[in-house]
Amino acid sequence: MSEEQITNKFIDILRGYVKDPALLEKATQKTHILKDLKVNSARLVDIIIKCEDVFGTTIDDEEADRIATIGDAVTLIQQKAA
């Protein structure tokens, strides 16, 4: 799966948790999930669980702790798929 495909899938996941869709329209790899998209910490846990299902992988605590931006999540998923 290409970086673009992973990014698009991840943004699709985020749509279920971001209250203001306009924030996602201008999202980039550097977009901070909590600060820029106003996702709360509990929902970030839900997003990580959803990623495990959608991408068929497992994300441990230390890996999840390193996810701050969209790019962080995409890179991690890409690495785990390699």
Partner: protein, 217 residues
């Protein structure tokens, strides 16, 4: 400045209701002992969010001085020591063991929300000025943040006896939730914490730090 953290959870907010039935969320966030507390509670959802708020409040407190501290929920272990159900709202007290040491904890539980406070000691929690306030509307996240700042600044203005217009909140670039208060253009040496979720916003600040002389008058 001594660490202060607070966290409010709206028990009726979308995504919060029924969360105690979400085994994967429970497993990722809570220790075995905490999961036992949730399972044994008469209101499992309320206990789940009380424990969550405790972890969040503690994380906010320690991340202020150490923005790189880990945020793994299970590394913030909650130990409840007392429970007071004699008043209108139930109150829990205890401690949170964090990667940077223990913090004292107090949690208030109501039918609508739970609110946790974390600080370096029970005495420090006791001197905090703090409040949970219902929001009038159900606007965007940005509106909720503005409301939380508004109620914080209103309380600080009352405390200082100054005009609310003399105060503003700025965000430090590091760390999640690291608000600082400006007073007439000077950084006010007061530890503050803001929180909002769904229909509620909350704040806490430690009034023990004196106003710097250069800002007074």
């Amino acid at each position: 400045m001594p660490p202060v953290g607070n966290d409010v959870v709206d028990l009726a907010a979308p995504g919060n209701r029924g969360k105690s039935a979400d085994g994967r969320f429970r497993g990722r966030v809570f220790t075995v002992d905490e999961q036992a507390l949730i399972s044994g509670a008469t209101q499992p959802d309320t206990m789940l969010w009380a424990l969550w708020a405790a972890k969040e409040a503690a994380f906010k407190a320690v991340s202020r001085g150490d923005p790189a501290v880990c945020s793994i929920p299970r590394q913030y272990r909650v130990f409840l020591e007392t429970e007071d159900t004699s008043g209108t709202n139930a109150r829990l007290a205890g401690k949170v063991s964090t990667p940077r040491g223990d913090l004292a904890l107090r949690v208030v539980l109501t039918a609508d929300w739970v609110h946790a406070l974390a600080a370096e000691s029970e005495e420090a929690i006791g001197r905090l000025r703090q409040r949970v306030s219902p929001r009038e509307g159900t606007g965007s996240g940005a509106d909720a943040s503005a409301f939380a700042r508004e109620i914080l600044l209103g309380e600080i203005a009352r405390f200082l006896g100054c005009d609310g217009g003399d105060l503003s909140v700025v965000k430090e670039p590091g760390g999640p939730g690291a608000p600082r208060v400006m007073f007439r253009g000077c950084l006010l040496e007061v530890e503050v914490s803001l929180s909002h979720d769904g229909r509620f916003a909350a704040f806490a600040f430690d009034p023990s730090t004196p106003l710097p002389a250069e800002c007074a008058g």
